[in-house]
Symmetry: D2
Subunit: 286 residues, 4 copies
């Protein structure tokens, strides 16, 4: 998979592009170039990235093809951090633990857990992104944010108990959602997607019956809005959740193997937490 | 899964620990505490981590249970960056692409790719970590690094063409390995594992026949040494590779769906790279 | 998971049913009862089934809850046999082989291969079953089979190059489809689904342009019609394909490990067949 | 993947073998030949097998390369039937159900469940086959079955609480094991592997302390012995378990989706059976 410098030309932004004339069966990839002693991630030598870009920034580069600004890197990192784990109760974590207790290697546990990021979970990011895109199309045709929100809510009726991006089994105020939107605002990266989402949140919770039972924005909704404003396509939404949650699945698989008996019966109702108590980041990290 | 503050006590380092008396079926987890409106990763509220720790630093916290120093965070991030992707030829990437071309969702592609991090690939990190640990035990009993290296090499004969951590299908000088060890040195985080590995490298390549055909240190070996000096157990080695490579699998699955025909026959020999040409990080990022 | 005989009563067909009063968290399963020294598959002791029902018949019992007649057992077995393998080119087989060449255990290979039974392959059975069901609803409202077929074909336009159940990458006359429908006919198990499918086949191929390029019925369409007439719900269609194809994936994973070099690059275009030449079943088996 | 008849020759048994001269990259497969309108499983046209071989017999053909005799077909079918399901408690079934409750397609559930056929479960067949092979090598060197059994038991000490093939979490007399060995005996297919296993069983249970607490032979041990006498290699053992159990995983995934709420918390301790009560095969099936 080497390439011929004589065919180089310059594409947009002055980026030199190597061209190779395709024959019948040839197919192309634009992600990573490997040759003896050379590995380039979207053109950047990987050894040059090591120690200079964070892992989150490199993930962004890999997926988008361009370096994130420091602000974008920070916000994108926060997106990943937000979803890194959610304890033992998600079906994905239980799938991973059940595979781990059978004695399988860690990768089997992680692989099984990923398969439980099904339609109802981890799929909300994509649905919400698609809805926000739809809403912005309506808005750009001249409809106010408020009326756009009402139109979207009307559409979503009957498609589930809650619109995508709202509600949660446990949280009445998802701490991750508020923090992500706040960070986007501080970094001046919140745009129309975030704005529309906020309006939808306001409109939903102004409806009759909602005063007693507010419907909170959840982290999938916040991620959807932030990623929309960062320019991601909706179909990548679930992918970001996978990247973020794999460390969590791994940690649970490792703990299952280390602390519990092989082939045990795992009842999530009997789980309790015995890890560190709540603690704060030292001042120097803030 | 709430907990009773009255049972709190203080463990090492003054960290308050919540205790709960286990009944018959109860089982414990020490990773993440979830309660209404609260999510704590090893005790730290996740919303507090968002925007303050990088994703790589949070992965470290999740796996080790404690915050990394900035230097450790930087080195650990470089470990993850080093393995983020390696183009279309690894069996894992081809497994992921074959699943993607069938029309399956992204998670199925990623899940399948992970399963190909088998014994021969991605398993090298663990093997190498275990070997280095074994070597350090020998060294601590009074044997010099040089003689320890020779003993290890003698043991590894017949266990494969190369000792774990050395050799590569493509690279004669793995750019990632040198960079990682250099960074560990700059950050003053290289210790006995790294030192032993360097001695093994020297001893191997001083052997007859190696002048023409040096046996390069590969990235798995470098990661093994660095993670050993960071205090990780060997069994976590493959897990780090999984976390690092999942974004790569995802990128390839996305590209497969976006650029190529569904249900196509994927011949890796016919792949070529048509992405950005080699480019350098701007000065401001270095 | 024992049960209390005193709560037994008799349900339809005189089958004794054990009842247990559910408490809050209780949930029920009706597939297999296990107790010390007892395993019952839909009520039948498994040791009684061994040697008396074939594996295919037991699969039917497991999925449908009742014993198949010998004729149904024969037809259902033929459904499974039809899809047991299709060589090295399907993406699922390549996914399995790529995992196998990485050194992973057989189950990882099989697991990865299954994930490539995606939307475009293995999903055709369900789509076709659903379409036939839709068509039969139309027919039962008074429309002739011929007009029903035309309505269905009109609906399917724009949903893909071929209607579900028709067309194949390789075969212009899928030998499995014809045989399955013939067997259903011989066993007098072909009903309205099969009849409608045959009419659709006739109508499609009477259309202009089809004389030169007939559109063959494929095995997914035949399986869909047969399973519809056997009373299966559409959502089980893909499940039958999984059961049938797992032995094929396993055989390929085993062969990959046994015959080929670890971590090899697998190019499907370079594969050729070197197994037994065509041979016939001995007369005694027919 | 066509082939050239002019290169045909005849191999052992008069079976015509097609030869193709391999070039550099070529690789071969001997399982299934596909060409336009032709699909041959180990040489037999698949449409010819449909309705004449059972699914279990076709699995045998696929894996072994030759047709089973009717007696072998019956015994092999019983091996598969024995392991088709074991209720909701195995970790594999719980992994499958957790994936199913997330809303994932059936194939994801089955795939996840397979990954939990780990070292401790489903791996016993292989271990036991390997041990029996080892024992038969000892026996063929002139040691009696009784002394061979004692040697094996001595070896297995410290390798786990029970020797492979013995013991069970639930059953004190595994009904499947006895039935399988009885069937092998009736069909005159039991050989040295079965004989050695029976001797091991006798020797174990004659040991002090075993009168009160007999150690039962389990189905994995019986399958191992039977498959050894059928000529299977040990490494295929786990593969047979996968083929057998996939229908069970599928049935549980289907039931989970059909009967229970999406994203529910699955506690195996709260499961009870509400399916058909114990019933007998009609006389005509025996």
């Amino acid at each position: 998979m080497d390439h011929d410098r004589s065919n180089a030309d310059r594409g947009p932004g002055g980026i030199e592009r190597r061209r190779r004339v395709p024959t019948g069966d040839e197919w192309a990839t634009a992600i990573t170039r490997t040759a003896p002693n050379e590995i380039e991630i979207r053109g950047y030598p990987v050894d040059e990235l090591m120690g200079r870009l964070t892992f989150g920034e490199t993930v962004y580069l890999l997926l988008r093809g361009e370096l994130p600004t420091p602000a974008i890197g920070k916000l994108f990192g926060a997106v990943l951090v937000s979803s890194i784990d959610h304890g033992v109760t998600p079906p994905s974590t239980l799938a991973a633990r059940n595979v781990a207790t059978s004695g399988a290697p860690l990768r089997d546990s992680v692989s099984a857990g990923i398969l439980a990021f099904g339609t109802y979970r981890g799929g909300d990011i994509e649905n919400c992104m698609a809805c926000l895109q739809e809403g912005l199309a309506i808005h750009r045709s001249g409809v106010s944010f408020e009326d756009t929100a009402r139109q979207l809510l009307e559409k979503w009726k009957g498609h589930g108990p809650n619109p995508p991006g709202f509600g949660h089994r446990i949280h009445t105020r998802d701490p991750r959602a508020g923090r992500l939107l706040q960070l986007a605002h501080e970094l001046e990266l919140d745009g129309e997607h975030c704005r529309l989402l906020r309006v939808v949140e306001r409109v939903i919770n102004a409806m009759p019956g909602r005063t007693q039972h507010p419907l909170p924005l959840n982290i999938d909704g916040a991620i959807a809005a932030v990623c929309g404003d960062l320019g991601f396509d909706p179909d990548i939404g679930n992918g970001l959740f996978i990247i973020a949650r794999v460390p969590g699945l791994l940690a649970h698989a490792i703990e299952e193997r280390a602390r519990h008996q092989a082939l045990r019966r795992i009842d999530p109702k009997d789980a309790h937490y015995d890890g560190p108590a709540r603690r704060r980041l030292p001042e120097t990290r803030k």
